[in-house]
């Protein structure tokens, strides 16, 4: 279970990415906000902070796999999510080595990495012509709202998974 749990949870979250639009209030779209819920990526942050050891790179590996699956299932362009998830997860993994993890640090890591991921995704999509949004309107219409909504998702996942992940991590790496 300690090995399977993260993968299983990732798969379920990937499936639930397909109904994310149900959780975004209709008034957002009417006001011109474009919101994306990065449920899978938030779980990857949780894995990096509470599951991974300093020497294990599971969060990085899972980031590549789940990014690729998200690309194939939900977008016609392959590689964008995979690249951005992998790069940012690598950064998070290295940040973890210098930071002492508690709730506030986790929130800081969350804001930093979600901003990075979303900006990289926006930047690549703009480069290949999927969106024509300018940087300023991107920040106003998408980035700020996305951060706010995703922070709520992060809080939920923090409450649900933090202890569980820490326990499974202990079972897997320490108990030998």
């Amino acid at each position: 279970m300690s090995r399977l749990f993260p993968l299983l949870m990732l798969f379920v979250l990937i499936i639930f990415q397909g109904i994310n639009f149900l959780f975004i209030p209709n008034s957002f779209e009417a006001n011109g906000f474009i919101v994306t819920i990065h449920g899978v990526f938030i779980f990857l942050i949780m894995i990096a902070l509470y599951y991974d050891e300093e020497t294990s790179y599971y969060s990085f590996l899972y980031a590549i796999i789940s990014g690729l699956v998200l690309d194939i299932v939900y977008s016609p362009v392959i590689g964008v999510y995979m690249f951005s998830y992998a790069v940012v997860m690598y950064v998070v993994h290295h940040l973890r080595k210098v930071l002492h993890v508690n709730f506030y640090v986790a929130s800081f890591v969350f804001f930093l990495s979600i901003t990075l991921v979303d900006v990289i995704i926006y930047w690549v999509y703009q480069l290949i012509g999927v969106t024509a949004l300018h940087l300023q309107s991107y920040i106003e219409q998408r980035l700020l709202m996305t951060l706010a909504i995703n922070y709520v998702v992060f809080l939920i996942q923090f409450v649900l998974f933090k202890r569980l992940l820490a326990r499974y991590s202990f079972e897997r790496f320490e108990q030998k």
């Binding site: 798969f11 379920v12 990937i14 499936i15 639930f16 990415q17 397909g18 109904i19 994310n20 639009f21 149900l22 209709n26 779209e29 474009i34 919101v35 994306t36 819920i37 699956v69 690309d71 194939i72 299932v73 939900y74 977008s75 016609p76 362009v77 392959i78 590689g79 964008v80 995979m82 690249f83 992998a86 790069v87 995704i121 690549v124 999509y125 290949i128 999927v130 969106t131």
Partner: protein, 291 residues
Amino acid sequence: MSFFRRKRLFTILISLIILVGLIGFSLRDREELSSVEEFIQDTVGSFQNVLLRPVYYVRDIVGNIDEMKHVYEENQQLKENLSTYQQKLYEVQELTKENEALQAVLDKTEALTDYQPIQATVIARSPEQWFNQVTINKGKQHGVEKDMAVITASGMIGKIQSSAQFTSTVLLLNGFDRSNRISVNVDLPETDSDAKGFILGYDDAREQLLLEFTDSYEDIALETTVFSSGLGGVFPKGLEIGSIEEVTTDQYGLTQIAYVKLSADIKELNHVIVVDRLLTSIDEVEESGDE
């Protein structure tokens, strides 16, 4: 230490190359998905089909309770409409019979309007709103092919972007651009002929489709319904797309354009119909001739 730095640079370069390669691979105009993509899409799709059912069920119940508030008013309106429909129904029946009889006289069995419907259910929507794509639970095994039109009871909503074995992705009308035009007809009130044109794309700010007429027509009334003409070679004739909201000229004042409001609600999708045109296009005839 310098070796590690070099190695890191090396990794970054490799990952950039992979990124560009994958994007290039997926962006080029391909006819079919690769088998790996099909497998992943079908696996996730079948789990979505099972796991997300209860979620949609709950949403539908909530929606139904919401609708109940307006039931009385709607019922009054519908009763009024019903009386006019009786008359229309009789007319339509007569016309269909007459049409069949005349076609039999002409020995004409195939028409652009003929299509075979494939019922499907929407199982997921892309979390990235820039893509305007949804996944449905029917694929190649059920006869769904690339470029088929997708409609709901109230009108057209998009076309099949790619199909795996058991699931397909649908590109919604608000994601259309110049590379996937629809040839359309607009009914002109005075004359017998129709105004012809193309759907060029979607205006995000107005949330309406952009229609360009091939000719200049003077008497296009607002609120006229826009139908697909079947001449584009992909969609059958007579699929309702929307109604005209505004008629103007383009920015250079040369061509006449119109803004079209969609008939179907593409934000609330549940059950859709994939339209398989019976009349084969010239391309397909040539292909089967080659074999």
